[in-house]
Symmetry: D4
């Protein structure tokens, strides 16, 4: 959580989602994007959830990342009450391996989109928020391009390491 | 729709759900249970949806039947803002055959239950509402018992017909 | 299990279901709803199961919670022989993660509804039974409303805790 | 349906299952195995269903074929009240393509087996009943062996036809 | 494995299936049904597998229980080369939780039935073999009826124990 | 397709995807967002696809909408070679009902996000692109807010129509 | 079917699979690869199927394409009795949309591989056979490279057509 | 990894796939087939991945084995840029048990085949590569035939061991 005016809201239905959702904030930190973190539940705090969504754009947020599991209604409900792009993270529960979370988030009816990432894919949710902000922010876009070059370098390093290991058995 | 004070609210996210949901009202009609029908969308009218849920018990409703498809949030969101029993009907969309609707409705987190029926099972939603009201209404329970005897009779009739047909080939 | 005349029957096919089903009775306890607990198997005691269902309403029960796993027939079979609302809890077995249990319970044919909750969702089954009884019991409804306010408070507390933790790193 | 003492009971939850289940009786007819056909519903006639199962062995039946769809409880419930081998046919309903029917029939708990065939596989249910009777009936087994030789011949004929067609384009 | 002329063949594709399949032989032992156990692989010993199936009836077997996992071809292939009833046990592998095994066994084409039991349901496979033999063996049928009475008793005992435990907290 | 400098690229693997993808462009038209439409195939034109992605940001695009079916690689591959936000539309093919398309698009590895919408959800892809552009464009955001108010009005109208119809039977 | 010594065997369990499998032979024809077509059933002609597989390599075949549906055993069983590469085509049946066929073919145990293509993907099976032969046949590889260039051209043409159509409304 | 000119490329998206993919190289080692191992990522090194595919045939490779998980694009993308046969290994990730990986690899569009093996089936991928090379290499084919005889022997040994163990209880 950062002191600056947050540009991204990272919300989840329960603090038990934090171990999954933390990776979204780590990605935002890497890019220096200020954010806020909130526990907001569609089912346990329906009015509070709508208030959060209603006020998000006015408070300066530019994107919202929402994680939820099972009958996961938080991303879609927040999207219904904000004009901001909302990114949904399907949090896997103990049963059904996140398939219920995924379908509950991605299968939104026409009119109200949710940008869905993979099951437990909070890191990618953070990176998607960066790309969204970068669409109108050349500096951030340059950082994203540099990040992608780093990914290439990391793969090249892993490739070299694996080949070294295979040709130099202990 | 009946003139009497409605005891059951039958709601759906879109009038395109009516062909599926109509069977719920037909069941209520058979038992003489007054009801109201409303189009209420979790995603397109989030505030209206919460208002409906907030006021339902105070207006004399005793149960709510909510049908929705895809990322089906209506039953769960209504359940979050009313103490009434909420019955969810998974409406199948063009793709995924209702599996997304079913999981989005039934996999509610602990604290907020939704009484889920089968994919497109609106008739059973109506009958479940009757059973719920009948839990404290001996007359209605007697009607339900008579209805179940009728089901038995119908099966006996079908059994006789099929056996007649098989032994009397044209 | 309570000394008072039970209003809810909590049944399961095997005592191995008890660790899942216990949460239903805990919820009933929280609301002071008297209940009975029974091991009743559709497949191993078919006649005993029907007797239980036949006599349930006459003995003063107002709702039945039935848990079963795999080819889970207990909730549907009990519903076929009682006019009471029956709540089905899909108990997950070792394989298939409860998907078989869920479909075996929720996909009931028209005529015989089962109010299905989530996989292993016994707590919600208890809360749904409370809502059903509360439909005709203002005191119980007030308790449910208070319970829902408590849920909101809990989320607010978790929200505050998480924000504190994030802004006060050790 | 045959005049002789039936050896196989072919039952289904509704006469709407007959178009699927008819193929079971056709297979029995091909092998000259006498059978009876009944509409028996686990959910609409629970007591009648148990009576049917209780009396089946005593009336001279040696196997039961039961077809059902959705939350398909008929095969398993009949198996619970008879010592006879019970063959289950998953009848596909309008939604979920028979996957619910299949899981509801095949995933029986230890103690009560149901011999499950493929979705809509009523012909194979009939053939399985023949194999079961043939286990102690050399004449019937010889017929089954002849039937299997015929299958081979049919494939050889189809093979020849397809090769002829491909080498003799019109 | 018994010294007597075996009436049931219990086969599996690999000795790694034995921990699952052992329960089939335990059930046969309880009913005093003699059986043989063999490792026979459809994929690794295709000719040996067909020889086994070809000779099974002639050697006095009356039913075959075949367990296999993944693309599980053993039950269906054996059924193609014997007139005996073949019972298939879907053995779950490390991935997909037995769903592949189940579909590979149960979805047999018309002409060649396999009596499929639940994922890892080897005990029920043994009990199904007993029911099949009992179809023409009054003594064995009496044992099966007694077994079913025992199941009822066991449930009654579990019911009593659970109720005792709940009313006598430590 | 518009004469202005396009801000969004709408691409698809084949012109057979156009009937699904057209809805994305209709949504962009409603909001006056200029876009380009291209057939670009990950599998049939891999180098052309990478060139498209490489050059997209430099040519002034701010978001890309990519539709594909089956083993749907287009959205993910484009995302790998551009820093722009990429929106993936799972196009359903003849078999598997779009589930393969959905999983192939949404389950991206950490590092390369794709904003996935529902099966065949091209209209929402268009609306999501609008929200993304609107994150830094107050005028567009105002339009999106107006659009959401219109959705509410439409639901209110449908609600009134259905209630009128139900109370005024012909 | 060609007069030359066939290099590829195209087999299927029933002539009803021909409408799907024909596309494999069309692909082979495009590349001038000689092939034979046979109806060979794992379940109805198990011995004939093994003979076919046993003799395939000796007769000069270099690859086998096998199509089958449901509990699809043909590809795996043929692979068990030949050292040739076997390509499996999951043929979709009336129910389950080919998912059963796919899993029955692809999930082969270690030791016996089947090269599986998409549901109903017979054209790709033909193209895969060409690639396999081309691995040691420079002329055929050159044809495959030319074919891939043609694919690129076709996409470019479709791209141009779609753009023309969109900019030249009638 | 071998000093000889490699005939097979074994590639994977990340070194974390190595524990699964290692089995492919073990199989190649058993048959003395030289190979190379590379970490090549479709998503993190898209240009490097295409370069690898473009140059593979020219460098003397005759087949490529590619493993990937989740939205697994590596096998299909490599197949799009090489005329060589490409074998895809679905690597299971933490969620969804490899079903996403399988569908992302096997459901390739017409034109670009990928020879898919089972979830985590890297050993079979290696064996399939051997069969592909053996299609034009009599020595390698003889080795594959010997390998298949060994499989038969192993099963015979396991069969003998299990029977010994069952008849000689400790």
């Amino acid at each position: 959580m950062t002191e600056q005016q947050p540009r991204v809201g990272v919300i989840m239905g329960s603090d038990s989602d934090w171990p999954v959702m933390e990776a979204a904030t780590a990605a935002l930190d890497e890019f220096g994007v200020p954010y806020e973190v909130r526990v907001v539940s569609a089912h346990r705090t329906p009015h509070g959830m709508l208030s959060y969504a209603d006020s998000a754009a006015g408070r300066g947020l530019q994107a919202i990342i929402a994680g939820a599991g099972g009958a996961a209604h938080l991303p879609g409900m927040v999207a219904s009450a904000t004009p901001l792009p909302v990114i949904g993270v399907p949090v896997p529960l103990k049963h059904l391996d996140g398939m219920d979370s995924l379908l509950s988030i991605v299968q939104m009816p026409a009119g109200i989109p949710v940008a869905t990432v993979s099951v437990a894919g909070a890191r990618n949710a953070g990176l998607l928020a960066v790309r969204i902000l970068a669409a109108a922010d050349p500096d951030l876009r340059a950082k994203m391009e540099a990040f992608q070059v780093d990914l290439e370098r990391m793969v090249a390093q892993k490739d070299a390491n694996l080949r070294y290991k295979l040709t130099h058995p202990e």
